[in-house]
């Protein structure tokens, strides 16, 4: 009897909360509309934040060809409750107002300005990673859901992959708190204020401007194929077991990243041979600097390294990659930070108007950065979710957005012994992807494939 009464009480309480939220959400929507209409250009009270060193580049080079958007998603075991997700997102952005921002253009630099309304949770209905149009009234991130999936799409100026994975973890914590599950085993508290360490520009903080790096401007082989329209992007998600991949990689005395990169390089190389291109295969590997410099920032803090394919034999290639990755030291990362921050700090660069800066940045990006790698490979690493919500999440997903020259981007993320390899492709041909996945399955690794592509 008691149990039934408790259940009925819970039901009544849930319905009450739902009806309250429905009323409040309509009120909120009306408020948002009213605020958007009355949002004046000269709102001096609005908080603003500087863009970090890496973030300065992205607004300048963003177009429908280069969206600079990436996507993280969490596959839950139960369907997503939209209202709970909206409440969770509202609470999260109240806690982290530096993410609830729009991008504005100043005279010399772009900057973030706090928006007086929260992002609206929507059901996903379009191709992934659409461009964020330059609009100071719009958010630079999207929170969406689709059946069991919570999706976070984010503009690269706001955060990098690891930063975004932290934001997604916080969102999951807030979401499950709304559902009545309170994670204890986490430092994150929704009732805290935003900490300075969370939004700091770690590039400027750790740059000592003493030693500098020479840029690797050697052109790399570019994957060829028939391009899709700009608003379309194929997303292939390969779900595998972390322990299985680690076991196989261990046989070759290598780590998981080296193993995956070696297979990817060989898949690209087999395609390159068909075209008879002489340029080398190079992989762009972002290095997370948070651990190296003990930073806690959610903003960008990565250093880009290029890994070159120097051998055709799989085992030799693994040895060479291990050597190349071992050469990436904290000092070499600091050198690359210094090189980037130095340009930002030059007086003559500072006084150039933003319009001219944007043109120069676009040119230098297309000359030096775009053609210098064949494919980006971002490894977010293993995400440790709080124990209380770990069982509620099946897997996490990570995919990179559209790039101008690189037809294929690869990213991976691990959670609950599931490694998700997210491959985004802007071309119709899929021989490299097939080759890459076939290579992995040839080692006895079980792969489950999910894609938004129609056969």
């Amino acid at each position: 009897m008691k149990g039934n009464i408790v259940k009925i009480e819970e039901k009544i309480h849930k319905e009450k909360v739902k009806s309250e939220h429905l009323a409040s959400s309509t009120r909120k929507k009306n408020q948002v509309r009213a605020i958007q209409q009355n949002y004046s250009d000269n709102d001096n009270d609005a908080k603003w934040w500087r863009l970090d060193n890496a973030a300065l580049l992205f607004p300048a080079v963003t177009s429908k060809k280069v969206t600079n958007v990436f996507r993280l998603a969490a596959n839950l075991k139960e369907p997503v409750d939209k209202d709970a997700l909206q409440r969770a997102s509202d609470k999260l952005f109240e806690r982290l107002p530096a993410l609830n921002v729009g991008l504005r253009n100043g005279l010399f630099w772009s900057y973030f300005e706090e928006l007086p309304y929260m992002p609206q949770v929507k059901e996903e209905r379009s191709y992934p990673m659409q461009q964020f149009k330059k609009n100071r009234k719009k958010h630079l991130l999207r929170i969406m859901y689709y059946k069991n999936k919570i999706i976070l799409e984010i503009f690269h100026s706001i955060a990098d992959g690891v930063g975004a994975s932290k934001i997604l973890t916080y969102l999951l914590i807030a979401y499950f708190m709304e559902l009545g599950i309170k994670p204890i085993s986490t430092d994150f508290d929704l009732n805290d204020f935003q900490k300075e360490e969370e939004i700091e520009d770690s590039f400027s903080k750790y740059a000592d401007l003493k030693t500098f790096e020479k840029r690797d401007s050697e052109k790399a082989y570019q994957i060829k194929g028939s391009p899709l329209p700009y608003d379309k992007l194929y997303e292939y998600l390969a779900f595998t077991s972390i322990s299985q991949i680690k076991e196989v990689a261990k046989k070759y005395n290598a780590g998981m990243t080296e193993f995956l990169i070696a297979n990817l390089m060989l898949a690209i190389y087999s395609e390159k041979q068909v075209y008879g291109d002489k340029k080398p295969v190079k992989i762009n590997l972002p290095i997370d600097l948070r651990r190296r410099f003990e930073s806690q920032t959610l903003r960008n803090f990565v250093s880009i390294k290029y890994l070159k394919m120097n051998a055709i034999d799989f085992e030799e290639l693994l040895i060479d990659l291990k050597k190349q990755i071992a050469e990436i030291s904290t000092e070499s990362c600091l050198k690359s930070i210094n090189t980037n921050v130095k340009i930002q700090k030059v007086f003559y660069v500072k006084i150039v108007p933003l319009v001219i800066k944007n043109i120069l940045m676009r040119l230098s990006y297309s000359w030096f950065a775009e053609n210098s790698f064949s494919c980006p490979f971002s490894n977010i690493g293993y995400i440790n979710l709080p124990v209380e919500i770990k069982d509620k999440v099946k897997s996490l997903e990570f995919t990179n957005g559209r790039n101008k020259t690189n037809a294929i981007s690869v990213g991976c993320i691990g959670c609950n012994d599931t490694l998700t390899i997210g491959i985004s492709s802007k071309i119709k041909e899929q021989s490299i992807i097939t080759n890459f996945l076939k290579r992995l399955t040839s080692f006895g690794i079980k792969i489950e494939l999910s894609t938004n592509k129609r056969v």
């Binding site: 996903e124 209905r125 379009s126 191709y127 992934p128 689709y146 059946k147 028939s226 391009p227 329209p229 292939y236 390969a238 899929q430 992807i433 097939t434 996945l437 076939k438 399955t441 040839s442 079980k446 792969i447 489950e448 494939l449 999910s450 894609t451 938004n452 592509k453 129609r454 056969v455």
Partner: protein
């Protein structure tokens, strides 16, 4: 995920009938089932939105035509401007609205616009008996502008688009026909120099395009005509 593709060694989503990578059949039961995709994005929604937009535009243009023509006929008892409006709205729909809704390539748009603008001006000239100005200046300048634009687009892109080649070929054909007509039938009636300029420029650009992209063009032609 129960479906297994033997050729790729992968497990595929259970509601799929074919492997998304190699295209081989992985589940025959799903072939006969109504296709229900449980993954994103919702294609139907996109298609529906596009169709609704096209329909709304078409219906509003037809309504506008009807109102205008009926109004002219009933109130002024004449039908002079009506044909222009009908042809003009048809031109706007085919050359401007339809390409933007269907997201045609740049070359396909310019190709359709060159052809349709030529037809439009020929219609206006012959219908209104104001013969000369369009053939003299408007059509040659259209050909000139579009052939230059196609040339720039063609060379700036890394890949070969068949429509680019065919649209520049179309420019050459129209300009040469126009040039030939101005030398023979319209001799003395129209000015020759604009048609001559458009003819020379379109031919030169076509030849240079062919020189730079000959391999891709020949490959594309082989594909198109099954040589």
């Amino acid at each position: 995920m129960e479906n297994f593709c033997n050729s790729c060694n992968l497990y595929v989503e259970s509601d799929r009938s074919h492997c998304p990578l190699c295209g081989k059949c992985v589940n025959e039961d799903n072939l006969n089932k109504a296709r229900k995709f449980n993954y994103f994005p919702d294609y139907k929604w996109h298609k529906k939105r596009k169709n609704v937009a096209t329909l709304i535009v078409l219906v509003s243009l037809v309504l506008f035509d009807l109102i205008f023509c009926l109004g002219e006929f009933l109130f002024f008892n004449q039908f002079n401007i009506g044909p222009y409006v009908l042809v003009g709205t048809a031109y706007i729909y085919v050359a401007c609205i339809l390409p933007s809704l269907q997201m045609w390539s740049f070359s396909a748009i310019s190709f359709s616009q060159v052809v349709l603008t030529t037809l439009l001006f020929v219609f206006i000239e012959f219908y209104s008996n104001t013969f000369g100005w369009a053939i003299n200046f408007v059509i040659p300048s259209f050909i000139l502008a579009s052939s230059i634009a196609i040339y720039i687009v063609n060379l700036s892109r890394g890949y070969y688009a068949r429509s680019n080649f065919y649209s520049s070929l179309c420019c050459v054909i129209i300009s040469s026909v126009l040039f030939a007509l101005s030398l023979t039938i319209f001799k003395g009636v129209v000015r020759i120099w604009p048609t001559l300029v458009s003819f020379v420029v379109s031919v030169v650009l076509f030849i240079t395009l062919f020189v730079f992209k000959r391999k891709k063009i020949i490959k594309g032609l082989k594909k198109d005509f099954n040589w």
